[in-house]
Symmetry: C2
């Protein structure tokens, strides 16, 4: 459609006329700006039933007067982060940060040279670190994520994100987000969904890049968290991070966290592992039409291929449930045209 020339030219030439006209139109018709029609809102998704299931769902719940219409304020979409929005192999990115922090802080902790799991981290013996399992991992995270103020912690995370490189792809971690998922987030927001992260990762870690990287503001990031303690340092209030867990936002903790932080049930949720099973079940129990999706990592060449036997991002029971219940399962290799926003070399 072409704008009638005279009217448009007059309006463009006189900004104050424009504003008045705009206000008049909004008042008169309750109009809101409409995004210009996109030929394809998900260009990095190959055509097929996965892409179509997303578009069909969004079309149904946004069709005013349709049987599945959902009011905008109830359009809550929750996304897992690690393995769903960005890469999670060969170790969770936040754990890579923690390992780098052990090295960076080693001078202030001479005792770490003789104390596990730090000793093995400092010796670069990753096999030994991984053999210590979850207990060792938690000790490393607790030690590097506490004993400082929230401001100091945020500075460390920001600095790490700017400088650290992924061991295989040799680019910044924030370059290893999934382009198809960025498009999906934008597509949902363009349709008045409110997008949230609901991740087992640390809430404060994620808030340092979620806004810039995903367009998800801090108050819409939900994650695991430690206890903080308010205190005055030289009359200046600070929050000190303590080595004590407040809330674990994983598995059954995801619906609990959704209730705790959002207080609404999602109608759209995407995950990639067994840690997302309960979030997807909780979403499936929504009142009307709802969408449950899983990213299945099937692309060893462009990213990684792993599922039932992986220690990181294991996808086993949730995959069975998705297949049994007809949830959408993304086959990364076949459903995604591109993986990352910038082309990466393929090491």
């Amino acid at each position: 459609m072409k704008l009638t020339g005279k009217c448009a030219r007059a309006a463009i030439a006189h900004p104050r006329v424009l504003i008045a006209l705009l206000s008049a139109l909004v008042v008169t018709f309750g109009l809101v700006p409409v995004a210009s029609a996109q030929s394809d809102p998900l260009p990095s998704w190959n055509d097929g039933k996965v892409k179509q299931s997303i578009i069909d769902f969004v079309t149904r719940v946004t069709k005013k007067d349709g049987p599945d219409y959902v009011e905008p304020e109830e359009r809550v979409a929750t996304f897992d982060n690690d393995g769903t929005l960005w890469i999670e192999q060969p170790v969770y990115n936040q754990f890579a940060f923690a390992l780098d922090e052990v090295k960076a802080q080693a001078n202030q902790h001479p005792e770490w040279k003789e104390k596990e799991p730090f000793k093995s981290v400092l010796a670069g013996d990753m096999k030994a670190v991984m053999a210590m399992g979850e207990k060792g991992m938690l000790e490393i995270v607790a030690a590097t994520h506490s004993g400082m103020t929230t401001v100091e912690f945020n500075e460390r995370v920001k600095q790490w994100l700017e400088t650290a490189k992924h061991p295989r792809f040799k680019v910044a971690y924030t370059d290893l987000v999934y382009q198809p998922m960025l498009e999906l987030l934008n597509y949902l927001r363009a349709n008045d969904f409110k997008t949230f992260i609901v991740s087992g990762g640390g809430v404060e870690f994620m808030r340092n890049f979620a806004d810039k990287t995903y367009g998800i503001p801090p108050e819409q990031v939900i994650g695991s968290s430690g206890v903080t303690k308010y205190e005055l340092q030289d009359d200046h209030p600070v929050l000190v991070k303590l080595p004590k867990v407040l809330f674990v936002d994983d598995g059954p903790g995801k619906p609990e966290g959704i209730n705790h932080f959002i207080g609404r049930q999602p109608i759209f949720a995407f995950g990639n592992s067994d840690g997302d099973k309960q979030m997807l079940e909780w979403t499936a129990a929504c009142k009307g039409d709802c969408f449950m999706g899983l990213v299945h990592h099937t692309d060893a060449e462009r990213e990684y291929a792993y599922d039932r036997n992986s220690d990181i991002g294991r996808l086993d029971k949730a995959l069975d449930e998705a297949l049994a219940k007809g949830w959408t399962v993304v086959d990364m290799k076949n459903d995604w045209k591109t993986i990352f926003p910038k082309e990466t070399t393929n090491p």
Copy 2:
């Protein structure tokens, strides 16, 4: 300013032209609809330095290119609830709910007849209940706020809010919100502030009326919370409320909760008691211009008068700090033209 007739008529006559024009204008100039100028955004506030301090602050931080300009996404405003947005005397409204619940659930708990603090509640002996102090109060809240699913709890709260009356004013509790504060919330939102509740009250309790009453959606309500447990009941997922505290959002817990839930520092905060002291200090430590306000209950006739010696909503240390640091202190009797949205009789 008058719209040029021809252009406006053409636009109004052809809605599709309008939409296209609107889109073009938005794209071309990044224009957004401007709210029509209000003669007085705070009509229930008497003119004076308190009202002026609010308007001056909002004007400063929203003045593009001004020295105190704050980007919209950083315009976070946090409000205490009890005594700041609605009445809190003679007992916190949520405690009145808990007392009514003890009576409503007594048949299912025959042991309560002989067990304190329930025995005194059932006997209507409020003096004895209050004498048991915080411990008794917590026991009553824990017993009536757990052992059910979140859905069941929400139904109970909604039913109570619809039927219960305040002992003095004989109207629903949600009619005893402060009209001047409703105007303030609207005024801030009209200036692109995001308004949050940050209360010592229970988050799930408040979410049952905050949206309808204050225009604050569930995901912007922060409060104290109990632990919930995800489980399947007849294959249907539920969250069961356990009698275990997860987080106390009061005193130092307020800045901790703000960090936990919002992840941004407020630039505007309003409270009314010593439980808000740390939230106001935390707000005062913001980077640029910030606003700290307290409601001082000085109107025994139209509401209540209490401060340094009150067990409920004690305002003592926070008042000293506000006076010393020049924070805004509302004198309810003199600064508020009206108290409640509907006129109440004056018992």
